[in-house]
């Protein structure tokens, strides 16, 4: 098919004819999210203003990365999420991870802690210390970070509905180490909207939950200059079954809603926006994920600069943590998950993540074992130090496919913004179950594709022979729950009950008052050794609880 001299056809036409003459594999050429993928991308797929849209790292609109040096300056933070059993056990895992080269800590709380129940609540039965660490009082928080200098290490805490309470515990635990709040570096997730959308761990109705979160952001903007008071999270939205565009759109819209709320409370956007951070999923569709991160940076920068008038360039930066996709892990042939996780992690890195958690291969079966966690960390170290991908900034920048996909996913996110605005904004949309329904539909469609075999999941609906069967699993200690309840009872026995009661009364009074910031009162409750359950119940007396009307 060499071009003959009098042939009028362009090289593109020649390619198209040759391509069309070749039989194609009979599979759907779509991304994991269902976006059609062309066989070839060329310069013609780039936007007219591509040079401006792509830009340079560390420069608006930050498509190529938030920092001028990216991984040439400093690698991403390898931050493995950990937490199980008692504060003492998790503390030992933290020391283990730090000893193996991890550079930041990330704390997983158990279900009762996430829902605001004490370990001795009947609702906590069987859940204490299962999926994370059990924290009932500031005593547990103190044990959790024992021997770790909180003025030095950055700590992430994955907790949302009771985030303000856990932050108060953390501040007081640090105070006991002699570290003031001004020195504390880290992140608390505290992204309440995505709880109602996807993660479904709540304590209060949406409006008071938004207020508590606003109180915390405001307090942090004054007291904790090194702290990220919210990690606006798409991770759980994606895990719940959303598409990449939905993850991007709903997450950024949640973030923009928090910005609006803070401005309404009288904060200057530049006083808090530089402390906002994000958390995204890394699914298995490699290029789609990379495009998602690049689009996210561009949208955030544009919205903060153009829509909110942020002047400080730091306010425009969308910095994010990435975790590989838990839902992509299979219980069948679990070692295959090592490969999935490595590819997802690579997508996070090529997408310019600031920190990364790699899942362990055994997590579709149980909490990870220590060996599996070490392998997951080693996966990051191999990507960082062996593959060479961290040697140049945004190596995929300018790729016709990646840039076209970035533009496409960005446009899809704006379509969702329009729909959400038409519903009256994100809070109203969540109350109307809009994002919940979109996600449920997307997850059902994907499941149907898998069930029908149109989408291959290796080891599940194809190549199913040779399941290596059982792998060693982490087992929770059944005595743990009793031990935690005993510790809680010991704290209760040793504290000044009248002081606890007085602090809870003051908290209730402030909660009932519009405009009172609850953070200082939560700190007072913490110092009296009030338990999380007691504090949440006191607030629920004023605010009530939340019941979902599920859509499926």
């Amino acid at each position: 098919m060499a071009k003959i001299p009098d042939d009028e056809r362009s090289p593109e036409q020649l390619w198209r004819e040759a391509f069309d003459a070749t039989p194609q594999r009979d599979v759907p050429f779509t991304t994991l999210s269902g976006t059609p993928v062309e066989p070839l991308y060329t310069e013609a797929d780039l936007a007219a203003n591509a040079a401006e849209q792509i830009g340079l790292p560390g420069q608006y609109p930050f498509t190529r990365g938030v920092y001028p040096s990216m991984y040439r300056g400093r690698l991403w933070t390898m931050r493995q999420f950990a937490g199980f059993g008692s504060a003492e056990e998790t503390n030992a895992r933290f020391h283990y991870l730090l000893d193996h080269g991890q550079t930041g800590l990330s704390t997983a709380f158990d279900m009762p802690s996430l829902m605001g129940h004490d370990s001795d609540s009947p609702l906590s039965l069987g859940e204490v210390g299962r999926e994370g660490v059990a924290v009932d009082t500031v005593e547990d928080m103190t044990t959790l970070y024992k021997g770790i200098d909180l003025g030095e290490v950055s700590v992430s805490m994955t907790i949302n509905a009771p985030a303000a309470i856990m932050l108060a515990y953390y501040v007081v635990a640090a105070e006991r180490q002699g570290v003031p709040p001004q020195q504390l570096a880290g992140t608390i997730q505290a992204d309440i909207l995505k709880e109602y959308i996807a993660q479904k761990e709540w304590c209060f109705p949406i409006d008071p939950a938004m207020r508590i979160m606003g109180d915390m952001i405001e307090w942090c903007s004054q007291q904790m200059p090194r702290w990220h008071p919210v990690s606006i999270s798409g991770y759980h939205i994606r895990e719940a079954g959303s598409t990449a565009a939905q993850e991007l759109a709903f997450t950024l819209k949640d973030g923009l809603t928090y910005v609006e709320q803070a401005i309404e409370r009288g904060l200057d956007v530049d006083d808090f926006a530089p402390r906002l951070s994000f958390f995204f999923n890394a699914q298995i569709d490699f290029f789609e994920e990379i495009a998602k991160y690049r689009a996210a940076r561009r949208i955030w920068a544009r919205e903060l600069k153009e829509s909110f008038g942020a002047k400080n360039p730091k306010s425009w930066l969308m910095r994010f943590h990435t975790q590989t996709a838990g839902v992509s892990l299979t219980a069948q042939q679990p070692l295959n998950n090592v490969v999935r996780t490595a590819i997802e992690a690579l997508a996070g890195v090529l997408g310019g993540t600031q920190s990364l958690h790699t899942n362990s291969y055994d997590e579709a079966l149980a909490l990870p074992t220590e060996d599996a966690v070490r392998l997951a960390l080693r996966t990051q170290q191999i990507i960082a130090d062996e593959t060479g991908v961290a040697s140049t900034i945004d190596p995929l920048g300018g790729s016709y496919f990646v840039e076209a996909l970035t533009d496409k996913i960005e446009a899809e996110a704006y379509e969702y913004f329009k729909k959400i605005d038409a519903l009256g904004g994100m809070v109203a949309a969540v109350k109307a179950n809009y994002p919940q329904r979109e996600i449920a539909d997307a997850s059902y469609e994907l499941q149907q594709e898998i069930d029908s075999g149109r989408r291959v999941v290796v080891g599940v609906n194809a190549f199913t022979e040779g399941d290596e069967g059982q792998t060693a699993l982490h087992r929770s200690d059944p005595a743990m729950e009793r031990g935690q309840v005993d510790r809680l009872n010991a704290v209760r026995a040793g504290r000044d009950s009248a002081a606890v009661e007085a602090s809870l009364i003051k908290l209730r009074e402030a909660a009932a008052r519009e405009g009172a910031n609850l953070m200082p009162l939560l700190l007072d409750c913490t110092r009296t050794d009030a338990s999380e359950g007691e504090i949440v119940q006191a607030l629920q007396e004023v605010f009530g609880n939340y019941t979902e009307s599920p859509v499926f």
Binding site: G126, R130, E131, A366, N461, Q470, L473
Partner: protein
């Protein structure tokens, strides 16, 4: 009774016991069972064993599917089965879905759980199982 006609009559409670909020699987199953012609009652999240058993009784369900991804299945499932028995309910088909380690499955089956479905189980397999298990019961 053919599978097709029995499917239309099957009443299933899909329940989320405990505190975990992972409802993706439960909702997919609920929808797939509904699309297969069953009458599906989804309890929503964060249900206590007592609430679930009450729903099973009130809805006169043929089957109940418990979705648990928090690791609390060895506490919650025995409790639910025990409460069902205490109500004199012996013939409701109890299934469990979620991250259940293989070692726990025989123990759950011994308690009277008819089937355990782990991640990756196709929805059709679950539909077929319910049609067959409900169909095999004594006429009520």
């Amino acid at each position: 009774m053919t599978a097709a006609t029995s499917t239309q009559k099957i009443r299933v409670v899909v329940a989320k016991p405990g505190l975990d909020g992972h409802d993706r699987g439960a909702k997919i199953i609920a929808r797939a069972l509904r699309d297969a012609g069953m009458e599906v009652i989804y309890t929503g999240l964060h249900q206590t064993p007592e609430q679930i058993v009450e729903t099973v009784v009130q809805e006169d369900a043929d089957a109940v599917g418990l979705s648990i991804l928090s690791g609390a299945h060895m506490t919650l499932v025995p409790k639910i089965v025990e409460l069902l028995r205490a109500q004199g309910i012996e013939d409701v088909v109890v299934t469990v879905g979620g991250t259940i380690p293989a070692d726990d499955i025989p123990q759950l089956e011994e308690l009277g759980v008819a089937a355990v479905f782990t991640p990756g189980a196709p929805t059709q397999e679950i539909i077929d199982f319910l049609v067959s298990a409900v169909g095999k019961r004594e006429p009520r």
